[in-house]
């Protein structure tokens, strides 16, 4: 799905050669400051690599329209934003940004339930707790039904049992719908349990990063 060759970005990231497979879950695992978030942001062109080449579906991403690319390669940042408005607005806003059709309340309620968010659609987004914000933001990107997902520490604000529920939900969503996910985590268990492929990242160097397979 993606290939990265001799890619570098500032003093944060330097990659010799990495391939990210389609319809699989790849986990970026490593210490903080090793450029995991930056890695994701290169794949959807929120940042542009200073050297080297990145391809998406065999096309150089520098030749693709960045907005169209981001509508296919949706990213959830580490600290997701809750926009001004209700919980409903916050779930729908991704669809609006991507210029897709909005969803019915019924579907949104079902999603909230499966994410274990005990709030109503009309509740103010400001009232969400840290963990609820993270789950609403995750629900928001799931509604977009994109082929590729980049998720940065999607469960960092959750307790262990909720983390498992939410991860299972998200992973099943990816697998059942033949989607591709690239996920950043600092949790070894998450990396081992959920990924088809693990990229270990060290500070400043990913070159020759160890690829682990987890079948």
């Amino acid at each position: 799905m993606f290939t990265l060759k001799n890619v570098s970005y500032k003093n944060i990231l330097s990659i010799d050669n990495i391939e990210i497979k389609g319809q699989a879950i790849t986990t970026l695992f490593g210490e903080s400051g090793s450029g995991k978030s930056t890695f994701l942001k290169l794949l959807n062109r929120i940042h542009t690599n200073e050297s080297g080449e990145i391809t998406y579906k065999n096309q150089k991403i520098s030749t693709l329209d960045p907005i169209q690319l981001r509508r296919e390669v949706i990213m959830l940042p580490q600290e997701p934003t809750i926009f001004k408005g209700t919980v409903r607005d916050n779930l729908q806003i991704g669809l609006e940004f991507s210029e897709k059709e909005k969803k019915e309340d019924q579907e949104l309620m079902k999603l909230l339930e499966s994410l274990k968010v005990k709030k109503q659609l009309d509740d103010d987004g400001k009232e969400l707790s840290g963990g609820e914000k993270q789950r609403v933001a995750l629900g928001r990107i799931m509604l977009l039904d994109a082929p590729v997902y980049l998720v940065d520490e999607p469960t960092s604000a959750l307790d262990e049992s909720t983390e498992t529920t939410i991860m299972d939900l998200f992973i099943n969503f990816i697998k059942d719908n033949d989607k591709t996910a690239v996920m950043v985590t600092h949790s070894k268990e998450v990396a081992q349990k959920y990924s088809d492929e693990v990229i270990y990242m060290k500070n400043l160097m990913v070159g020759g990063a160890t690829h682990g397979r987890n079948d």
Partner: protein
Amino acid sequence: MDGMIDITLLQLLSAYIFILILLAIVRLRKIPREKEIIIATLRMTIQLVLVGYLLTFIFENEHVLYSIIVLVIMQVFAVFNIYKRSKIEMDKQLKKIIAVSMVTGTLFTLFYFDFVVVHFSPWYDPRYFIPIAGMIIGNSMTGVTLGVSALIEGFSSRRKEVESALMLGATPNRAARSIVNHSFDSAILPTINNMVGMGIVFLPGMMTGVILSGASPLDAIKYQIAIMLGITGSVALTVILFLYFGYQTFFNKEAQLKG
């Protein structure tokens, strides 16, 4: 017109007693503002005397070139004043957009006023052209200054929100919408409030001037209404132009946030 009652020089000097009272108060209360009060009073006096002579000259020697020179000076002053009042360093592109929006927006309003609303005759008649240009440019300057601050502040404090929107597939236009709308709101609000208080809370300077010069209050309010509408239009136009082109300078060609 009956004309105004003449103020003799001595009578004018007697008005400075208000400043003397003020100076006495700040000295007594030990408020360290004496120097500023004296400088401000002197500046006000000297600037107005100079403007008085300058306008007398221009009015007596009515010429299209003089009106245009005054207009250009006002525009340049207004644009540099906006640059100066922004506390954050602006990039060149943003400065250019400020200048172009100010000039286009105010000129459009001024000439609409000139050729449609009032019909100055001749069109550069300095008695109308200069004060009306001054009011339009001055108010637009305040509006754009507020818009510039709000836009820069918005992009710095809500950077993550804009980036989140981009990650969800938003165009830069859509990602910046909330900041742009908020900036428009803060820029235009003082002008709207001004309209609300008009005539009740205060009699605006222009109307006072027209009444003092002997015109009937009913004639005075016609001018005042027209100029208020013109000012509102010009503030809105300059601010919209500025914001529409201005927000784009925060993004690069790859639809990424700069910096």
